[in-house]
Symmetry: C2
Subunit: 100 residues, 2 copies
């Protein structure tokens, strides 16, 4: 195996496992206010499409890595959906009003 | 071009553009408390490795898509780094103390 193949495997490992710390953080704190619902909806959609693409082309590494990543991003999307509506995203943080 | 190729292009578009809404949200609100620094550090590392891998293999679509995604995730990582230290991630949201 060449050096660039090793590089590809490490890159795949990073891309696949990157969301694990975000899942742990969101699960522990149950806070997802600063996470963009749109971003993770598009991300999950993209991973479902990559999964289908990999299946149609018989590219099993693509299927396997996207299944793992989908578990992470799907969990984050679920936690974002479950966010209580009172958590309105605050506007730009301005100086606290006097007496606050 | 076959249907699965179209699927691949749409999947690539989703994966590449997914972080744009997160960049806009973080830029506007300057709030990144709920975003995991570890997750985006690993994500940026993975994209740098994919970029190098694509360059070594001459896979220019891989290089192009990871350059775009790196601009987004790199911006989010920058905003997370710039987060003022007073923004301690709150613990699990418990019931507000009486009188609070």
């Amino acid at each position: 195996m060449s050096a660039s193949d090793y590089l590809g495997y490490v890159a795949a490992l990073c891309s696949t496992s990157a969301y694990a710390p975000q899942v742990i953080k969101a699960w522990r704190t149950r806070r997802t206010k600063d996470i963009s619902l749109k971003a993770f909806s598009v991300l999950v959609t993209g991973q479902c499409l990559w999964l289908t693409y990999g299946y149609l082309k018989g590219e099993w590494p693509l299927v396997a890595s996207n299944m793992v990543t989908l578990c992470f991003t799907g969990t984050i999307l679920y936690l974002k959906w479950c966010e209580p509506p009172d958590c309105k995203p605050e506007g730009r943080r301005s100086a606290p009003a006097l007496g606050e």
